[in-house]
């Protein structure tokens, strides 16, 4: 028995127009979710380091729950589970964005906490000694420095979340993987199509890496 399977470049290229419609969905879910997750992360990250103990508590709970459960379970819970509670369906796009938001939000909370806590105590003291209020010291002195240190881990989280959206094919959002599956169902060219799907993810994540590197270089002035 002889199997001679060759990579069919023509089939790979033929799949491109069928995969491209998935890209806007992948981008919308990942960047929409990340944008919301960023604000969730700032909120819970700052709560997490509040001097008031009962404010820290809900932040710890949120982070532990959504960092400690798989994002696939989270999106299934939102898409199939929540409608039973709410009494009405949730569309797949909303469920996907929500899952990325709460999941990345938990990780970004820790990024924010780490960034703020990494700023030397003397920075805050210098600000306070000049008469700045605590919130002014945070806004003008601590946050700008912390944010610069947060850029690399935020980039990491961005790339992870983009890839996480591939799981949402299970709830039928028409993102990249889903488009690939639909196309393969009629052409049986799994090797070529998943190869192209992988390349497209790589194109997206690589662009993000380059953009972040530029941002970081710009932000490093004077550091």
């Amino acid at each position: 028995m002889e199997v001679t399977f060759q990579f069919d470049w023509a089939a790979a290229f033929r799949s491109i127009p069928h995969l491209l419609p998935g890209i806007p969905w992948t981008l919308l879910i990942s960047f929409g979710g990340l944008a919301i997750g960023f604000f969730i992360g700032i909120f819970f990250g700052l709560l997490r380091i509040s001097p008031i103990r009962w404010l820290r508590w809900p932040a710890i709970l949120y982070i532990e729950v959504f960092r400690g459960t798989p994002i696939l379970v989270q999106v299934l819970f939102i898409f199939y589970g929540l409608p039973q509670l709410l009494g009405g369906p949730i569309n797949a796009l909303t469920a996907g964005i929500a899952a990325i938001a709460i999941n990345s939000g938990a990780y970004i909370s820790e990024v924010v906490r780490g960034g703020v806590q990494s700023i030397e105590r003397g920075q805050r003291e210098a600000g306070l000694s000049l008469g700045l209020s605590r919130s002014q010291a945070f806004r003008y002195i601590i946050w700008p420095q912390a944010f610069r240190r947060m850029i690399p881990p935020l980039g990491n989280q961005g790339i992870i979340s983009i890839k996480d959206t591939s799981l949402f094919s299970v709830i039928g959002v028409g993102e990249l993987v889903r488009q690939g599956q639909i196309y393969i169902a009629t052409t049986f060219t799994a090797l070529e199509v998943y190869f192209m799907v992988a390349l497209m993810y790589l194109a997206i994540t690589w662009s993000l890496s380059i953009a972040l590197r530029l941002l970081e270089r710009k932000g490093l002035v004077g550091q």
């Binding site: 003397g122 210098a126 000694s129 000049l130 008469g131 700045l132 209020s133 002014q136 420095q145 004077g222």
Partner: protein, 253 residues
């Protein structure tokens, strides 16, 4: 404490600070008059930095009274309004400079006058440039702190504090983190400030500088003020045995 003629700008009475089981400051009584230069000396860990950090509320204390320019600080940090007023009137220079690394030298100096005093940018810049010129770094205004030497950074820190037009300046070992060849330039700037009549409380190990500039030297040991006297008296005729042994150790080399 005999000099009650002119109103003291700093008045500390029976100040006690505990840090867990550690008794960091013990019954500190200290008065500083406007225009006076007071140098605080003592071994490391004696509480001298803690003492001056209590004056602008960077450290809390548990018992006693601290009054700065008529604003009273309460124990356990229970005095936010008075504290805010005190901090706008009291400047501080730190051992590690603590310049803001994300801001240019000029922005370091103009930030507080604009945000706290509400000055417009033009006024803040004018004052900032004048102060940078005074400490000899006007040509570095657009650079970032990391591009300056330690001595230059500390002089920027001095200009930054002076930009708030303080009535009192606190110095927490301002030359301890500097390379030896840069200590002189910082002490020169402080010397000039003292000559202009600024009220200063200085924690330092520079005994020659203390002798020359101080009106009064305070020796602190294990959280207690053991001796205070004009520099000539304290350095040449220390009364307390602890002061003698401390001075013999630091003056020997």
């Amino acid at each position: 404490m005999t000099e009650s003629v002119s109103n003291p700008i700093v008045r500390m009475a029976k100040v006690n600070k505990h840090f867990g089981s550690l008794h960091v400051l013990k019954d500190i009584d200290l008065q500083v008059k406007p225009g006076e230069v007071v140098v605080v000396i003592g071994a490391s860990g004696s509480g001298k930095s803690t003492l001056i950090r209590c004056i602008n509320g960077l450290e809390e204390f548990q018992e006693g009274h601290i009054e700065v320019d008529g604003n009273e600080l309460l124990p356990d940090g229970r005095s936010s309004k008075a504290l805010q007023r005190i901090r706008t009137e009291v400047g501080m220079v730190f051992q590690q400079f603590n310049l803001f690394p994300h801001l240019s030298v000029l922005d370091n100096v103009t930030l507080a006058p604009m945000k706290v005093r509400g000055w417009n940018r033009a006024d803040a810049v004018k004052t900032g440039e004048r102060l940078l010129d005074r400490v000899g770094i006007s040509d570095q205004a657009i650079k970032y702190p990391s591009q300056l030497s330690g001595g230059q950074q500390q002089r920027v820190a001095l200009a930054r504090a002076l930009a708030m037009e303080p009535r009192l300046m606190l110095f927490d070992e301002p030359t301890s983190a500097l390379d030896p060849e840069m200590i002189g330039e910082v002490l020169d700037a402080m010397r000039e400030l003292a000559r202009e009549g600024m009220t200063m409380i200085i924690v330092t190990h520079e005994m020659g500088f203390a002798r020359e500039v101080a009106d009064r030297v305070i020796f602190i040991h294990q959280g207690q003020i053991l001796e205070e006297a004009p520099p000539a008296d304290l350095f040449d005729n220390p009364r307390h045995e602890r002061t003698q042994s401390f001075l013999s150790r630091v003056l020997k080399h």
